[in-house]
Every structure is written in structure tokens, then in C-alpha cells.
Amino acid sequence: MIRRVASFALVAVMALSAADWEWNLPPGFPRPVVPPENQMSVAKAELGRYLFYDVRLSVNGQQSCASCHRQELAFTDGLARAKGTTGELHPRSSMSLVNVAYVPSLTWANPAMDKLEEQALVPMFGTDPVELGLKGQEERVLDSLRKAEVYQRLFSAAFPGDPRPIRMDTIANAIAAFQRTIISARSPYDRYRYGGDESALSEAAQRGEKLFFSGEKAGCSQCHGGWNFSGSVRYAGGQKVESEFHNTGLYDTYRAPNTGIQEHTGKAADSGKFRAPTLRNIAVTAPYMHDGSIATLSEVIEHYARGGRSSANPLKSSILHPLSLSPRDKMDLIEFLQSLTEEELLKDPRWSNPWR
């Protein structure tokens, strides 16, 4: 009986703490899916922010999640390939975390990875490649966090009723909750398209929008469609859709470790297929593609205008074909892509480093 009352009280406290969360999204904008076992709360998102920026979560005490996911770069790192604590280069480029709460698959090339709570552990404990390098360091890290007064307070607030809340699973849950809050829905383009402000976009950007969504002219939206410019999204109350992966003809042959989803599916036809990331804030996330092999937006557009820089890959997506774009068309497309940058997001204190 006592246990039943206690568990009832715990559920009540959890419900209470979850109830204080508000997404504060523009009217009509869908809410993200939140796993029932990791409900949102102000305290949990705040704890996640502290952890996200905490260099104690690295073997060299110098890096954190934010080292490869820098707010001012829309939570990317400006590098072609991310660099871990041991200097090891990741085979792929650091992905933006903007609107990550909505994407069906989180990474470049693993269709099965769809839980932020699981993915948060990969950079911490992964060994191939080593990123934050915490494998074997779990107890040392937990000890250092448990000794920090700020964390005693933050964890208790984030996980009320939990007698010993500073654990790896709660760390991952809090970081995941923080990541779900990084939502971009207020770019100039959003104001133009959804907010009734037709002056929010220049004429060039408006021409670029028409090209972007034209299947005949540029066809960008065939992979980067929808309001997130990433293809299908998951949202509260929606269907559980899957990500699509595309071979964009970067190479004649895609070699390990960058074989795309083939690494996970084992199917030869999946070689070179990577996820189409969101294009929100794309102007600040150079260099581009899964391996950072294209330096500028202008060169990305040249790549697609040629129908992919590789002409010999038989697995190249049939969506790609040479495009007839004038120099003005290309500039218009860039102007449109720049309208997807939400400047406020790049400096909003809700997502900034709390340790500074």
C-alpha cells in the first residue's frame, strides 16, 4: 500500500514537472514527439543545457557536445569532419541539431537510430571513432558531477523524487530533452510563407523559392521538402514516417567507412545513400555534404546543377540530372537558402553556454 502511494506520488510529481513545459511555437506549427518515459520539463531542459556545454563530459576535460555543435553555426562545427578528444577525425561531418526533434532518423546513415536518448551516448562512449572518449570513465565522470553543487540542485529539480538522480541514463535524458528544444520556425522564410509578411523575402529569394520547389527547374524540394526542408518529419499526432536516404553522386564508388546506409542494411544498392539534412540555417553550416567535401553553397548548387559530380556511379539517385540554371537562377537559390537562417536561434540565451 505504501509502495502504491509512493509510486502514485512519484507519477504525480512527474506529471507536475512535465506540465510546466511549453513549446512556444508559432501558431499552427506541430509539436515534436516526446517519448513518454522522458517527458519535457523546464528543469530537465535546463539541466540538459548545462550538460551539453560541460567539458567534464570528455576524457580530456576540454570538449563537450557543444564543441562539435556550436550554437553560432546552427549547432555544427565549421569543419569538414568532426575532431574528437584524441584528435581522431570522424568519417563524417557534424550534423546540425536544429529541429532534430522532428527528424525520423538522427544520423547521416543509420536508419535505425531514432532516439535522442540513445544517440546522446554515442559521442560520449563511442570508440569508432573516439569522440568525447568516456568509455571506461563512467564512474569518474559521475563522481565529478555528483560533487558539483550545481548538479545536485539541477538533477533534483529535473528528476524530482529520484533518490539518486545523477546517472548516465538521466544525463542522456536531460541532454535529449535540451536538444528537443532547439527548434527553428521563425526564419525570414517562415515569416514570408506562414506569417503573412510578404516583405520578409527579397525578390531574388522569392524567385529562388519558386526554383527550389519547381520539380522541372531545380527540384531541390524532392529531397529537401516540407517545412523542415528535410523530407518527411515526425510530429506529435502524426504518422511514424521514416527518413529517406539518397545517393547524390558525390563519388563513383563510396568506400568504407562512408558507404552510407549500406553499412547498416548490408544491401549493395544502398551504397552511398545518406540522409537529406534540414536546410534550415544551411548558410551557416558550411562545409557541406556527409563528409564536408563541398566548401560553399555555391559549389553545392554547381554539384546538383551538373546532376552530381560523379557521372559513373550507377546507384546515383534518379532524381539527379543536369539542370538548366542561369547564373541568376543560382544566385536566387542561394538568396532563398539564406532566408532559412534564423539569426535569433544562433544567439538565443536559451541555447547558450551557461558556464560563461
Binding site: 506549427f29 506541430p30 503573412g196 510578404e198 523575402l201 519558386k210 519547381s214 520539380g215 510530429y235 506529435a236
Partner: protein, 162 residues
């Protein structure tokens, strides 16, 4: 002297004519009894209809005129008139950028199938604009959006059997 007075007046008239851009329209052409060029004003005077769509979680209510009503107005056989050779006819929907899709007349006629294909001119109460074009088709019952043609400019009716 007369010329001096006339020229400014002519220039003003020419400027007025050039300044008046023709209102955007959807043309209905081809094997029709009455070719049409329908503006938003014209569509506003026809029987209005609306459909609700869900675009990745963003709800949009499109308003406009059922495509079969547009075709009927152009004299295209619909309902009991859609029989015999007319059933081997189709509508080619064309967009400003050259994109084209086609529908057979049968799949546009509610007496054959309840397909609910709308020629839309507003979304959530606002005139369509930008990449949507001033007019578009909306086919909410279709699983893929590829025939919900944006930037619609023309509906060309083709009769294969004369």
C-alpha cells in the same frame, strides 16, 4: 502645338496600359466547347469548395472550385454526359515551370469516383503566392502530392477519340 499636347496624353495612356498587368489566370483549352481564362475573381463567382490538408503537421485549408465544376463550365462532358468516346479523354494540367500531369476525365467526375480535386486560389484564407503560384491543384485523397500541381497555368483537354 497640338502634337505637343497630344504626346504627353498618349504617353500617359501607354503608361497606364503598360502598368495594368493582366490578372493571373488559369486557361482551360483544347477539346472544350468554351475556352476559358479564369481569374481569381471569376473563380470567386463560381460554387466554392474547400479541402483540409496536413502538410507535415501544418494544417492548411485550401479554398477554390472543384476541378469538375471548372471543366463543366468549359463544356467538358461530365456526369451523365461523360460516356462513350468521351471517356477516352484526359486533362493535362500544366504549371508555370512546364511541369505537367494528367488526369482522365473519369477520375475527375464525382459520379465515377469521389476524388475531390480542387482548383485552389486561397490557403488559410490568403490568396496563394510564391512557389504555390496564384492557382494550384489540391488532391487531398492522393497519397503522393505529385499531381497537386503548384503554379497551375493551364488545363488542356485532349480527346483521343473523335
Amino acid at each position: 502645338m497640338k502634337l505637343g499636347r497630344l504626346c504627353p496624353a498618349l504617353l500617359l495612356m501607354a503608361a497606364a496600359i503598360m502598368g495594368q498587368e493582366a490578372a493571373p489566370s488559369v486557361r482551360v483549352t483544347g477539346a472544350v466547347k468554351q475556352a476559358l481564362a479564369l481569374t481569381a475573381d471569376d473563380l470567386g463567382k463560381m460554387p466554392r469548395a474547400s479541402v483540409k490538408t496536413d502538410s507535415d503537421g501544418i494544417a492548411i485549408v485550401y479554398e477554390g472550385v472543384w476541378l469538375h465544376d471548372v471543366l463543366k463550365r468549359a463544356g467538358v462532358p461530365m456526369g451523365t454526359d461523360l460516356r462513350g468516346k468521351a471517356l477516352a479523354s484526359y486533362v493535362l494540367a500544366e504549371a508555370e515551370d512546364g511541369y505537367q500531369v494528367l488526369f482522365s476525365l473519369g477520375e475527375l467526375d464525382p459520379e465515377f469516383i469521389d476524388n475531390q480535386i480542387l482548383l485552389a486560389d486561397t490557403a488559410n484564407g490568403r490568396p496563394l503566392f510564391g512557389s504555390q503560384g496564384r492557382f494550384r491543384l489540391v488532391a487531398p485523397k492522393e497519397k503522393r502530392g505529385a499531381r497537386s500541381v503548384r503554379m497551375l497555368t493551364r488545363l488542356d483537354v485532349v480527346m483521343l477519340r473523335k
